[in-house]
């Protein structure tokens, strides 16, 4: 019997669905596709709550265990991991209600808000790096902003993931500095018309030679914090006029007080000599 196109489509659809026989989950709908598998919304029948179920295309070991070690407010907690009846690996995790970063940016958040998200992403990376875990595929599609502003970094790396071309560092062997490269691209993506100091931070993070990037995410974070506080950043040697302007904006109140004091002094001097 020759399979018609509609039969092939039906077979592709039904055979692609994860076989949840023997698990406590009921499939609801597909919510996204990552580098290694598909994420579904599902209902946990035992606890009567909705969860996100990541089902890998093929059996893989380790990703769930890897993420389970990362208990951090910006890393989605894992509830359970295992193997489905069809041999595919899966894990259940908290279902994040919110928007993917690329969609979140469509709402035109302020620079301060964008910097807060970048800061949270970098914190997650620093935390993971300290435990020997690298992300490997950081990109806007792997960052979620929750309904209360929580930031989550998802899809933590599996060895087989090669990264997304635009966010992937040029080196063949990915390491912590490859994540720093990706976070630099993320800064450019999130703040396309960034002030010179922030652009310089992104450029330093994205240097083709990994030895010239920030040595650790914490160094990148420190520069971001300096920028947020209006201090000079390590990545940029600012010109004198820019330094003066930054000094002026940081000490505006003091300068106004000084100007007022000088004005009064001048007025008194003037009145005394009239």
């Amino acid at each position: 019997m020759e399979l018609t196109d509609s039969m092939v489509d039906h077979l592709r659809r039904v055979a692609a669905l994860p076989d949840l026989t023997g698990t406590r989950y009921e499939l609801e709908s597909e919510i996204g596709r990552g580098g290694m598998g598909v994420v579904y919304a599902a209902r946990d029948r035992q606890l009567d709550r909705r969860v996100a179920l990541k089902v890998f295309d093929l059996p893989v070991a380790g990703e769930a265990r890897l993420i389970a070690q990362l208990e951090h407010p910006t890393i989605v907690p894992i509830y359970e991991a295992g193997t489905l009846a069809d041999g595919r690996s899966f894990y259940a995790m908290k279902l994040v209600v919110g928007a993917r970063l690329d969609r979140y940016l469509c709402g035109s958040p302020s620079l301060a808000e964008r910097l807060r998200v970048i800061h949270r992403v970098a914190e997650a990376l620093a935390f993971a790096h300290a435990r020997g875990v690298i992300h490997r595929d950081l990109k806007p599609q792997n960052v979620m902003v929750g309904e209360f502003g929580q930031v989550y970094v998802m899809d933590w790396g599996v060895d087989a993931v090669a990264g997304t071309p635009a966010f992937r560092a040029p080196e063949r062997r990915l390491d912590q500095r490859s994540d720093i490269y990706a976070v630099g691209v993320l800064v450019q993506f999130m703040v396309p018309e960034a002030p010179p100091a922030l652009s310089a931070i992104a450029r330093k993070a994205m240097r083709p030679d990994s030895a010239q990037r920030y040595p650790a995410v914490n160094d990148f974070l420190a520069d971001i914090e300096r920028f947020q506080e209006g201090l000079p950043v390590e990545a940029w040697r600012e010109p004198l006029w820019h330094r003066l302007r930054r000094f002026g904006s940081r000490n505006a109140v003091l300068l106004w007080l000084f100007a007022a004091y000088a004005g009064v002094k001048f007025l008194l001097f003037f009145l005394r000599n009239v």
Partner: protein
């Protein structure tokens, strides 16, 4: 009428093997494994030649046969570099070159130079490109072979009821029967119907993966091809 070919090979003729294309790169691919490659790619190649080079059924069959004969005689598999493209793309590009060379040779042989193409029949007129047709035929052939594997497996393991339910529901060309209709018809509980169907779909997925494993160069390519099939 100039209809499509029925050639393509039933899976029963091609016993399972664990050999991959990596073995082919070392020149160690067995005839059985080669047959599995041909079983999956014969029809997509034929379809591609037919659409792209507007060949008649017989000419397309000859060219397809010629392509595989040449591929098997020369070190076609040795030249495959998995870091550059998946095997599927390698085959398609190779067929394209092969058929173009053949056409150029035909042209040189003919006085006056012009090659007369077979007119496309009405039922062949399509907006689909030859590349799309190749992909579509590749998927169809992949599922056809996996279904043959599933049937053989069900017959060997005595799971004929599973197969009957699967064929009645998932291979129904028209309106699908309800689970309760199938339960009544086969004197089993409705939950058994869904469980049997889940088992058959699971096995089908496994056989698709096995078929792909034979024609990919390793885990990385296999993953990509799996994504291509299921997405």
């Amino acid at each position: 009428m100039d209809t499509d070919t029925g050639i393509g090979g039933a899976a029963g003729q091609f016993p399972s093997t664990d050999l991959s294309l990596l073995a082919a790169a070392n020149g160690e691919l067995s005839n059985q494994a080669l047959e599995r490659v041909v079983a999956l790619y014969w029809k997509p190649v034929y379809r591609f030649i037919r659409l792209k080079f507007r060949k008649s059924n017989e000419d397309a069959k000859d060219l397809t046969q010629g392509f595989f004969t040449t591929a098997l005689q020369r070190d076609f598999f040795r030249r495959f570099d998995p870091s550059k493209a998946p095997f599927r793309a390698y085959i398609r590009v190779s067929v394209d070159r092969f058929a173009a060379n053949q056409r150029a040779a035909e042209k040189r042989q003919k006085r006056g130079g012009d090659v007369e193409f077979e007119p496309l029949e009405e039922n062949q007129v399509t907006t689909e490109s030859a590349e799309e047709a190749f992909e579509r035929e590749w998927r169809r052939q992949l599922f056809t072979l996996a279904l043959d594997d599933l049937r053989a497996h069900c017959n060997e393991s005595g799971k004929t009821l599973h197969l009957r339910l699967f064929e009645a529901y998932d291979l129904s060309g028209g309106e699908r029967p309800s689970y309760s209709d199938l339960a009544v018809c086969h004197h089993i509980a409705e939950t058994s119907v869904t469980n049997h169907l889940a088992w058959a779909r699971r096995m089908l997925r496994t056989f698709v993966a096995e078929r792909l494993r034979d024609v990919t160069s390793g885990e990385g390519e296999l993953r990509k091809e799996m994504r291509r099939v299921w997405s």
